[in-house]
Symmetry: C2
């Protein structure tokens, strides 16, 4: 067992000791919100939105992109527990902003001695605002997105902690 994992399990024991009433929370997100955002280590999706444990589903991937898997997750979220307000949150200083599909395939290819990277759509970001609009549009237009769901887009400023809504109409 690695040092990292030993540390995590020790910290988790402390966490569980102070768990309190959280163990009684039900499966349904109290605020009926689902957030799609980036995996970036600096983003605290619940805290930055003033949400508490049990309030919202959080879907995260590289870039916070509306990938097929994000759609799978959001549709399950709606059908199983009724989230009907989906927020797409991208952020400033995202690692995939200065990449292209080709560059990422090259990086993967060089490092791994495999051409598998050529067959992946890396969903890199060229224009920060456009990617939000594209992803909101994809979610809104997707045949599996129900009519009662609203989808809106936001940019999160990694240096100030501020969230701003982006006009996606």
């Amino acid at each position: 067992m690695s040092q990292n994992i030993k540390r995590i399990l020790a910290a988790n024991k402390e966490y569980a000791r102070e768990f309190g009433d959280r163990g009684k929370l039900g499966i349904i997100p109290a605020r009926k919100i689902a957030i799609l955002t980036c995996m970036d280590a600096r983003i605290e999706p619940m805290r930055l939105a003033g949400l508490g444990t049990g309030d919202a589903h959080i879907v995260r991937n590289a870039g916070g992109r509306a990938s097929d898997d994000a759609i799978r997750s959001l549709v399950i979220s709606n059908r199983l527990v009724g989230t009907n307000e989906w927020l797409v949150i991208h952020h400033t200083g995202c690692g995939i902003e200065n990449l292209t599909n080709e560059k990422m395939a090259d990086i993967a290819g060089e490092s791994y001695k495999t051409s598998e990277g050529d067959y992946v759509n890396w969903l890199t970001i060229r224009d920060r605002i456009q990617s939000i609009r594209d992803d909101v549009k994809r979610l809104r237009d997707h045949p599996l997105t129900p009519d009662d769901v609203t989808v809106s887009g936001f940019i999160y400023d990694i240096e100030t902690g501020l969230l701003a809504e982006i006009d996606c109409d």
Copy 2:
């Protein structure tokens, strides 16, 4: 603008006011960890593992499954900022545990009057422990996963807050 979004933006202003030094954090996760876990609203991935802001990449989807998109994210995480310890964390009481691909396609089909759901692999979970082993194995064996990455699997108990490692060897 919905009431939910008004509330979120108001809470975010408070959050940003107390942002402090977090705005100076760099893009590289301090602990070189990436966690793949479920979108469930009751899971607080960083807190349950004793991690702080900026410590780890967090990838989340329905079930915490090692989907193609999770692999895209984890590979970017490794190539761009060097995370080399990947943790797969599934949990008790997961919403997709009692579903099958067929049932989820039916639910989606009934609700949306579209057959699109038939073409989605919903990545439902039949056996809680087996799904962890399958996902750890997929990540370990994937051609794009570099040799210096370790992948381990955990089950998180939603009622006690306790994390336990699952033997995936």
